[in-house]
Chain length 145, copies 4
């Protein structure tokens, strides 16, 4: 339903776009064969350069999540949702692994890591708790002013 990017994040914009889109398709916010927002549309809504969107969409093609419908736009690929879910799985695991490796280097015991993690997990749902600096795009276009 919603593509969100945070221009102040240290993650590159195109990478955020790739991740967001992958997650959305994995959640079936866009379904197989459904057209996704056009490059220009996304570009305009998120105030991002078209080239940046193109770059993200291209990667999603390479991942087998999107396909080009020439002259019409880009659509979720035949088995796009599956692939997206698989890619998401990989991203999530990798992210946790990386974090664990770094944390273990800190000299903290696994038990300390576990307790800190669980404490922060239960704390609050920071799911865009602060929307400062975040720009989003709705699926149906009447939310934009």
């Amino acid at each position: 339903m919603l593509i969100q990017i945070d221009p102040s994040s240290d993650r590159p914009l195109y990478e955020q776009l790739i991740r967001q889109m992958t997650f959305l398709v994995a959640q079936r916010a866009y379904r197989e064969h459904e057209l996704v927002p056009s490059v220009r549309e996304v570009s305009k809504s998120l105030a991002v350069n078209p080239n940046t969107v193109v770059r993200a969409y291209r990667q999603l093609q390479d991942d087998g999540i999107l396909v080009v419908r020439r002259g019409m736009g880009m659509a979720v690929a035949e088995t796009g949702c599956e692939r997206a879910a698989a890619v998401r799985e990989g991203i999530v695991s990798q992210r946790i692994q990386d974090t664990l490796v770094e944390l273990r280097q800190s000299g903290l015991a696994d038990s300390e890591i576990r307790s800190t993690f669980l404490r922060l997990l239960d704390n609050g749902s920071p799911l865009a708790a602060d929307t400062n600096g975040t720009r989003g795009i709705q699926k149906s276009e009447e939310t934009q002013s």
Copy 2:
């Protein structure tokens, strides 16, 4: 005991050096007033540009973890271990927070995140079991030619 860096990581080398050193001091691998390896030594052992080491050491000075002993090199500061522990605490919390924010965007429920995390935590190798691509430096300096 050991400074480890991974040149293929996406983290900058100087950042890895800062983190590693901070963690080591926090663990009291180097104690107050103890001399730390010289820039030249670290640079040679890790095959890293001296400038990169200088940069890291300067940051550690600014953090109040190291101090210059003129003519002798750099040593752990008066209250270096405390400060290092504090810095470490901040790094660890921040790291977990960041990870949580990203994971929540993936559309996975907190319960799924928790289970994946716990699974990977119990699985893994305690501390870089495989050292492929990782370069280290020992506390006693005669390991490297």
Copy 3:
């Protein structure tokens, strides 16, 4: 007998249509003065934009392969089959030449190119054995709804 197009090919649809039609006329699947399927018919059967068919047919006119029969549609021109055969000859030679140029840049010796080519030539399915993603149109028009 059959116009086949592959919408997922990197060749533009109109170009595929032109080539296919040229080949069919060269093979005398449609003979001199014989009416070819109407724009509307082709468009519907192949699920292609009518404009695309129009564009292809116009090119075939320019090539002297088709002519308009006002009020009736388009037919193979007086000397259409000859011209089509000539055009086909040019296309085929050009195609092979292009391929050879590219392959020679790969650093493979001519002998390797030859053997690979012959191997693949003998292997393969004679004519689009698997029709996945390929859409066709029959000469007799009652196959499509």
Copy 4:
């Protein structure tokens, strides 16, 4: 030894760069761990925009042929030559396959295809027979004016 591109070709520049570089590595014109020409260098020598080169180099990274040496440039990856050879193999096969499919659609018999192919193969070595419009880059930089 030589990167060659033809700006008048219908193949995109970045694709030509990818192919050329892949072929060169496969032929061991650049060897494992060896630095390849920098983005700016290639860009200048071939009179191509740096972004275009970046795009090509990025793809080569994704293919596992090149790796970044941060601050130093890009080098052939550990098993880069193998991978390059494998990629080349795929490119070559695919190219021939595509050609065969198209030729078979022309209505020509396999025997005719074979004879035409062999004739053109033996004809001449069009390996850059005409250098009009082709721009190249030497390995050692003293050839450029």
